[in-house]
Subunit: 565 residues, 2 copies
């Protein structure tokens, strides 16, 4: 099989890597305006601001670079603008809301980039929904012009979709007829499961290039209201007021500033202030070592606000998120991520206690929700995940979610010879029993102990205790507990073997085994829809030289193998 | 992209097509023995009995031909042996239970055959579980030797798995380490969601070639009990007695005989006794026309038994099932299946009333469950599905499920010019409101009306009425209701357009839009797991010339692209 689709385009402006850090002053594609309790996010994509060389971002089409700014804006609304109750999403361009993912970008991207790009854009849209559901900040999407493909999928993340009724403004999912692929950012699932569009009407909608406009868009449940162009601004203002009045968000006028993350890239890894990433290129392993807090928790919620983004749980979550994204999009050869930690479990527990004591405070809630999203990002990372729990580590509370997020965990019984740090311990806290649901809606321990919920109760009864290797194994919290004699060989053999397997089959295996139990719209998007899209992204009808993605815009019709699978 | 993987091997013995009809006297691979309320199904695969040329079925490995016999045996247990309460599944070969799907077959099969083969084997295993859940016939799987890959997946369909503890008998899912693919017949989902194996232990289990044996297999929940070899037969008998005593199946000693289906293959289609399949090769459309009953329903349950497999609802279900399978596996070029019907809706309703009046009778229940499975087979068929509802048709009750199973339906308002048959009507009956759940656990109408359950009630209130095109459209039962002037053009344009789209993207679209709402283990198998497996079956790491599937057994190691997607 020819596998030419792996070659990656060069990044624009000679950048060495895709950078997930930005801030509003540096945005090229979005304008974030905050006015009292209403924020407006204006999409005005800079055609010349593409992430890679070789294409322009016409008609408010987007690539990963555009979505990184959107994700940043959503995070800042959470932390920097806790008073905002409504977000209005709209376009800064005339006659077009958003044309979706840039087709030239897709046609030229490697399969791995396409898949990880879609994963990130899905996570960003889930984040918009999470902001509404859990923080009460509701989104109104005001469409004046065409919202096609990813443009409509962005709208689908909103709580309320408005469409101008001017005979040309429309919503559309034209991927199938135009490009022979599926809407890649949750569109089909949100049409069927969120907006509950009747399945045969959804079939019609997804097979017409020109989309649906006017009253029919309301009748088919594709949008919530249509408005005359002349009343558009007035109705947007009215809706913003209504939704603001209904919102339960009641943060202070002043949030905290999300300061730039401190990090340094070297040949061997990335050094952050609260964690380190080390690459072993030969064994294709990335080791992420999280560091426990170096100071005790603040004395009060006010002191936490004063610490701002230096507050250890917030800083670590942001840095871990950045590290995971860096590995996902810049380090495709990494076979496995090994999580380690260093620090005093008691100090981590002290932070858990502080967060619990202030659990209704707006900033505490946002920090817990951020960790929830970062841990979901870990769950959804298509690399083998393993936690090594050794002397001197601090897998307590929130950090103890990492071994439960991993495909396997290894814990040392006792100490390594010549190492006088205290033996490894896991400490469970309340945080492990509800704060961090996975995308299937269950906690990681509930997903782990599906067979017998009594195992959850047994673990719960041990909260606060320093659980050594034997105890953790007995409770089912770790896969293997080994003594020093076996440790090095067992871990090395496992990692070598893992790195020798086909990455594709591991991706499929892990995507199935990590999410047992119930399904949610979110889990359906990442499992069912994504898997079908990945399959289609491998099929010659889409990506072959004569396929629809390659021939789009050339004036040549694509050539399809017409056999059904 | 090189797409050499489409070439199909020739069928063995010069057969013209894959035939889904068989009977116990013709089985080459299984022996079905019935002794009172216990049946034994002995797997003893004939190495020389492969479906295609070019491989032998060593070590009780299987291909589609083997599974067609298994599916037939399960159907016969339902209809011919209603007294059977327990099925014991075991091997007729020493030291091996079943080695799973034949690897040489997989390595040489077209992608379309592989995918449809896996779909059929999945449906057969779901049928075994349905037999237990809905007819009370429980399955014990008695493993003496190795149950690897599809062999263990077959065991996973049973209610109780026994394993001999002899130091070598084992269960294994070695697909990933050996072949760089996933277990293709529900294995991962049943391990995680049915047997609820802890996810990290499942990860270990699925990455070790040699599998798990003895007590560990019980501790990890992979089997229900291990027994010494010396006591194997005694314990099988004891378990069969226990399960028979617990079974609620209480059919008569005498069932009905499933007579061979009457059908005639021609160049243009297949003629059955109660339906016809017509192929239009140019437009790539298969039209299935179902015929209503020609005689009124029998006077009593006894008369229904006397009619046996000639009883119209049973005959039609079996013939429709055969027709769908024929199209799936022998007619890959068919883009769309068009359902039509001919007959008197009132006569169909009379049969529905007869079935309802006898709804607790064993044969009636089996017929309803058969229709449920056949309709699920329709739902899961990877072709565009459309129903055309025209004058002279009889889409009533059970047959009215077809438009609801389809991606779209078109209904004529009034009559065609010069046609004096009565205008088209849909008639809803109780059967449309509970008898036929889809794999997501909902009825087709409930899936259709997810947005507003009041729409289900509105439809329910119209039961028994002849609903014309206007009424059916108003109730949301059809996609389009057209008059004679528009009919031909609209239908033709739709079918032409559908046939012009990339088949792959349609497969993905339909797989997503057909199953809105909740998920079940069954729907997870057909969506999540199958989609990932299909993706992996397209990846060079598995199917490329240097991939694991091609190199298996050659002594050469596969070569993998190590980039993670």
């Amino acid at each position: 099989m020819n596998d030419a689709h792996h070659a990656e385009r060069p990044l624009a402006n000679g950048q060495a890597r895709i950078d997930f850090q930005t801030e509003p002053a540096r945005y090229r594609h979005w304008k974030l305006k905050v006015d009292g309790d209403v924020a407006t996010l204006l999409m005005d994509v800079d055609e010349k601001g593409a992430l890679f060389e070789g294409y322009e971002l016409k008609l408010n089409s987007y690539d990963l670079g555009v979505d990184i700014e959107l994700a940043d804006a959503i995070e800042r609304l959470r932390f920097e603008h806790p008073q905002v109750r409504v977000l209005v999403l709209r376009s800064g361009k005339p006659r077009v809301f958003c044309a979706g993912a840039n087709i030239r970008m897709l046609a030229g991207a490697s399969h791995a980039h396409k898949v990880n790009f879609c994963k990130f854009t899905n996570e960003t849209r889930n984040g918009i929904e999470d902001l509404s559901e859990n923080s009460g900040l509701q989104t109104i999407c005001a469409i004046n012009g065409t919202a096609a493909g990813g443009g409509y999928e962005l709208a689908l993340a909103a709580d309320h979709i408005m469409l101008v009724d001017d005979g040309s403004s429309s919503v559309a999912l034209p991927e199938l007829p135009l490009l022979a692929v599926l809407p890649g950012t949750g569109g089909l699932t949100r049409v069927s499961d969120k907006r509950k569009v009747r399945r045969d009407l959804a079939d019609v909608f997804c097979t017409i290039e020109e989309g649906v406009k006017g009253k029919r868009a309301v009748e088919w449940r594709l949008v919530d209201e249509v408005t005359p162009g002349s009343k558009f601004e007035d109705i947007i203002s009215a809706r913003a007021k209504e939704f603001a009045a209904k919102s339960r968000r009641n943060g202070p006028v002043q949030g905290i500033k999300l300061a730039p993350i401190t990090r340094r890239f070297t040949d061997g890894g990335v050094e952050y202030s609260s964690l380190a990433v080390d690459f072993d290129r030969k064994t294709r392993i990335a080791t992420i070592t999280l560091r426990g807090p170096t100071v005790p928790p603040p004395a009060s919620a006010g002191a936490m606000v004063a610490a701002g983004s230096e507050f250890w749980p917030l800083k670590l979550a942001r840095e871990l998120d950045d590290a995971i994204l860096h590995i996902r999009l810049n380090e495709f050869e990494v076979a496995a991520i090994v999580f380690k930690s260093s620090g005093d479990p008691a100090e981590v527990v002290a932070y858990e206690q502080f967060l619990d004591a202030n659990k209704d405070y707006w900033l505490t809630r946002e920090i817990r929700h951020l960790w929830k999203r970062v841990l979901k990002r870990v769950d959804l990372t298509s690399r083998s995940l393993v936690t090594l729990i050794e002397p001197g580590s601090c897998f307590a509370g929130t950090l103890a979610e990492l071994p439960f997020a991993c495909d396997r965990s290894y814990m040392l019984i006792g100490t390594h010879q010549g190492d006088n740090r205290p033996p490894a311990a896991i400490v469970l806290t309340d945080a492990n029993f509800g704060a961090y649901p996975m995308s299937n809606g269950l906690t990681r321990l509930a997903s782990r102990f599906l067979a017998d919920p009594a195992d959850i109760d047994a673990a719960k009864a041990e909260r606060g205790k320093m659980l050594d290797g034997e105890a953790a194994r007995r409770l089912g919290l770790v896969t293997f507990a080994l003594d020093d004699i076996d440790w090095d060989d067992e871990v090395r053999l496992f990692l070598e073997e893992r790195a020798s397997f086909s990455p594709d089959s591991l991706t499929g295996l892990e995507a199935n085994l990590r999410f047992a139990g119930p399904e949610t719209m979110e889990s359906k998007i990442f499992a069912r829809l994504t898997a079908w899209q990945n399959w289609i992204f491998q099929r010659p009808n889409a990506i072959g030289e004569d396929g629809a993605l390659k021939r789009y815009g050339t004036g040549q019709q694509p050539v399809f193998d017409m056999r059904r699978v």
